[in-house]
Symmetry: C2
Subunit: 274 residues, 2 copies
């Protein structure tokens, strides 16, 4: 028993007392722990909660909801961000969330935020996106979450608008105590902050890519293929994320992971009964 | 002009004439082109259509909707299946579908089928599954599709029940001309055919995994982690895939890729307005 001894220990510093009441926020991304986007996200919200970063040790764009099954994972403590506990992980963004909960935090954080992604994750991109899959994984594990993406691939991108709105949305999420399965897909136009008109709640636009693989020969004369494709938006609705972004709004789409197509389920029950 | 000459060429064999009217069916999977499951799927439906196989050259389980962006893809013609055009691809299941449409078929097939997966893809597994993500990718590209999974991981698994129902469902899909965005998630219990009670149209059960990473040290004393986890079903509904499978039904869940959480979108509009 150490009860008595604990009475004589040095007073807990005030900062730690405050920190104990702060929400625990897990940050991850898919561009890797060295990407400017994740630093900007961390900087934007670091005073709001107790921040822990667990992010891939290399770029993991387009990894979707991939998990690492057939090989082990590595997790290394890093010193990327001064004063912030951070780890790099050899796996996918979804692996990062799973490992963070089980082996780093040993608890569920109050919120998980992913990004800020370098590039758009609106419309059908949500399904290929490692950034968004990390957020979806958090929600599966009862952790409200949001993925943030800036419509600018450049390493030199201006994150000021994205930072402003990421902070606003994180504050809103904590304040309004959204359900534990909440996932928000947030995209920010590549515009200076002063041109951004605000947040718009949207649905996912119906769009896709028209693939066009570039075919080349290697120095040994063997063919290989590079994925390229043209984005095609078939959706003229003004309630979509694509419309909102084109009109300088920050788009927010609540995302679900129950993939049952309920309308189609009813139709199929009628059709196949015949 | 070769018009005249063509009149004198040998008569087109009847088989080819028939084949011209047959539907073109693309087969892929996530266990790799050498897995017994894909051979069983091919065998089950090979007389129904003109079959083309494009499948990963190695196991790709748990790859979700990952695509290969940062490196090129290889595609090799193989002779795995006698009399069937087949290719192995260095990428993910989703890459296989994209490359098949753009560079192998040069058209959209009439149907895409994925599997037969070695192991369950019911409930939340749909989101991690390479098998199902290939099927979803096809539907995004306007190709009706289905993913088939047998609840048996064994390389020696008995596919007779799975083969029977895969064929039945493929015939049903072609006959009832389902919409081009149809994706069916089909799971088959690991039971002898005579014990299977038939097809049940279901919704995705609400379930998840409780992660529990196994922590080990490598020979150099450095830690690594293996993903393990316990499946947890929170859903007692009798209209779910988990219930159907436990009761020896083949579960069929229609799947969507519009991830907008419409109910939550309405709630959020009300909450955030305040």
């Amino acid at each position: 028993m150490r009860t008595k001894k604990s009475n004589t220990r040095p007073k807990t510093p005030t900062a730690r007392v405050v920190e104990k009441n702060k929400p625990v926020i897990l940050i991850t991304n898919d561009d890797g722990i060295s990407a400017p986007g994740i630093r900007n996200l961390m900087e934007a919200i670091k005073d709001i909660g107790k921040i822990v970063v667990v992010a891939p040790d290399k770029p993991q764009s387009g990894m979707g909801h991939a998990i690492t099954i057939g090989e082990p994972l590595r997790l290394h403590k890093t010193h990327h961000f001064e004063g912030i506990e951070s780890y790099s992980c050899s796996g996918t963004p979804v692996d990062c969330v799973k490992l963070a909960v089980d082996k780093v935090l040993h608890r569920k954080p109050d919120l998980c935020v992913s990004g800020i992604n370098h590039g758009a994750n609106h419309s059908i991109n949500v399904i290929y996106s490692g950034t968004m899959s990390a957020a979806v994984e958090a929600a599966i594990e009862d952790i409200p979450s949001a993925g943030f993406s800036l419509l600018d691939f450049s390493i030199e991108a201006d994150f000021s608008g994205a930072r402003y709105f990421a902070r606003q949305i994180v504050e809103l999420m904590l304040k309004t105590k959204l359900g534990k399965h909440t996932v928000l897909n947030v995209n920010i136009p590549a515009q200076p902050l002063e041109l951004l008109k605000g947040i718009k709640l949207c649905r996912q636009a119906y769009a896709k890519y028209q693939e066009n693989y570039v075919q080349r020969n290697d120095p040994h004369g063997r063919q290989y293929y590079w994925l390229t494709g043209e984005f095609q938006n078939f959706d003229k609705g003004k309630d979509t994320d694509v419309w909102a972004l084109a009109n300088n709004y920050v788009s927010v789409v609540p995302v679900q992971y129950d993939l049952t197509h309920t309308t189609y389920l009813k139709q199929l029950k009628a059709t196949w009964k015949k």
